[in-house]
Amino acid sequence: MSPIELGLAAIAATLVLALAGVPIGPAMIVAACGGMWLTVGERFMWATLKTLPFDFASQYTFVVVPMFVLMGVVAARADIIQDLYRAAAKWMGGTRSGLYVATVAASAGFSSISGSTVVNSAVFGKVALPEMLRNGCHKGFSAASIAAAGTLAGLIPPSLSFVIYGILTGQSIGQLFMAGVFPGLLTMAGYLVAIVLVVRLIPGYAPTAITRYPLGEKIRSLKAVWPILILATLVLGGIYTGTMPPSAAGAVGAAGAIVLAFARRSINARGLADSFQETMILTTTLFIVVVGGLLLGRFFVISGFIREITALLAAFDLGVYSFLLLVIGLYLVLGMFVDPLSMVVVTLPVLYPISQALGINPIWFAVIIVKLVEISAVTPPVGLNLFAVMAASETKISAGEIYRGILPLLAAEVVILALLVAFPAISTWLPAMMIGN
């Protein structure tokens, strides 16, 4: 087999195993090891298995991942998010689209301290969904709004997606975080426009009950915002004043969240232990997928797949925009079926060097990739955020309901993505400002 055929065979094997129900991480590990065994031999495979998983797992660079997860999990357990959502609902819930708007706004607020799009979706599935359903909001559209708003966590800093992009490409994580700010806000604006339009145009999407609160109660509810403000200031303020490098921000943020939770008396030892447990499980779940992706990547390198496919794409003499179009098409299609993390881990080692050969701004490219990753988290049928909301709803929401509900928001995503491609400055202006050129 030629290197290209070998690479495609490994991808096909992964997909077949995954569709047959083998978890995606183990599926990639088995496909990659099978490929190594059959092409370069047993010795290469065993040596790589001995070095790669531990070397990856013990890298300081990745410490930031469990730390950001821990910060988000603790904040959710300590009711910091619940309070935030209730405040948002009091301020914004007074109109027909109000509760949807409140959900998106509160999720954006949580995004400034949470880096994980799945954690955001799960938390709001628990916190906001019951409230929305109680007020008679549309089931599928409520769940879909929560899933979509969850993606803001991946764009608004801190963001695990940007951390992983930074690790895979060697780009500055601090700059990547800055690059996500405006695309995140643009995405939020896009969702809000879509929500207002949908609620206005489609009967049955507006809630049956609209509660208005007196101004005094609204103002009192604002005190729920300060814990989030403190944590966001601690993390982002710490990074941008130079008190700490971005890689340390997760540890400081997690410690801050725990201190804050105990100060508010909203967490106990049991809750803290549960938070640690949840963080460990989530981290390990990601770990298996990334190790699988890295092993597969190693196979792509040693089999010559990356060399050949890069040469092939280079031979097509693609321009910047036809290349981007290709990437967008690839990610949208793959993203329907494959989980976003493994998609990036496997494809970026191929795509990133090409993007650099074409002279594409790496920060802009990062935003487009991360945006595509986040979109794939909400595209049916395999959408991590959709699953997270369904799981959090304890089967009150069916797959069909949430699949239909997400469609208008996906339409908004297409427009947002087009804007990000058409206007690179949305992504690159703020990081450039930060450097001061």
């Binding site: 195993l17 995954a18 569709l19 047959a20 129900g21 083998v22 978890p23 995606i24 991480g25 183990p26 599926a27 590990i29 088995v30 090891c33 065993w46 298995l49 001995k50 998983p53 531990f54 797992a57 013990s58 890298q59 300081y60 990745f62 410490v63 469990p66 730390m67 821990l70 710490g238 008190t243 700490m244 340390a248 997760g250 540890a251 400081v252 997690a254 410690a255 725990i258 232990a273 640690f276 447990q277 963080t279 460990m280 499980i281 981290t283 390990t284 779940t285 770990f287 298996i288 997928v289 190790v291 699988g292 079926f337 494959v338 989980d339 993390l341 493994s342 049928p381 395999v382 991590l384």
Partner: protein
């Protein structure tokens, strides 16, 4: 060994490993925060902070395998399998576990030489503070090996379910 003994051993392993994983997470957080505060305000960075946090991370990820496998909380693409019922469903479950056992075996097998090499040379970390690395690699080996063993037990259980016996026997 009776099923009861296996269950007891498993419950013990779960509790102990959870404590170890939480401790490693806590260490990561404390070392990271302490290093930031120490460097910024007291001119006292924590020696070997990166190496310690990195080792703790490895412990979390490998010890966490035990818990992920026990709960089977892997990321799964259940496009096809979610629609299966009855014997087909049980068959798919067997296959999924077979794939998982294979992957965990591949990883776990090589954590043994990783650990033994580390003991042989009494490996210490590099950098400003040289702490022993072999206990870390021992935990890594334990995590991967126990997780693989749990997956094997789950596979055997799923095989048993594949051929339901008419008459109930002592399991």
């Amino acid at each position: 060994m009776t099923m009861h003994a296996v269950d007891t051993a498993l419950a013990w392993a779960l509790r102990m490993s959870a404590w170890i994983g939480w401790a490693a997470l806590g260490l990561m957080m404390i070392v990271g925060t302490g290093d930031v505060i120490g460097t910024a305000f007291f001119r006292r960075p924590i020696l070997g902070a990166f190496e310690m946090a990195g080792s703790a991370l490895a412990v979390v990820m490998f010890i966490g395998l035990i818990h992920v496998q026990t709960r089977r909380s892997h990321i799964v693409v259940d496009l096809v399998t979610a629609g299966l019922r009855g014997p087909m469903r049980r068959l798919a479950d067997c296959f999924a576990l077979f794939g998982t056992v294979t992957a965990l075996y591949l990883i776990a097998r090589q954590t043994w030489p990783l650990m033994l090499d580390s003991w042989r040379i009494r490996e210490v970390s590099i950098g400003a503070f040289n702490f022993p690395v072999y206990p870390v690699k021992t935990l890594i080996c334990l995590g991967a090996t126990i997780a693989a063993a749990i997956a094997v037990v789950q596979l055997l259980q799923s095989l048993v379910r594949l051929f339901p016996r008419r008459e109930g026997g002592a399991a």
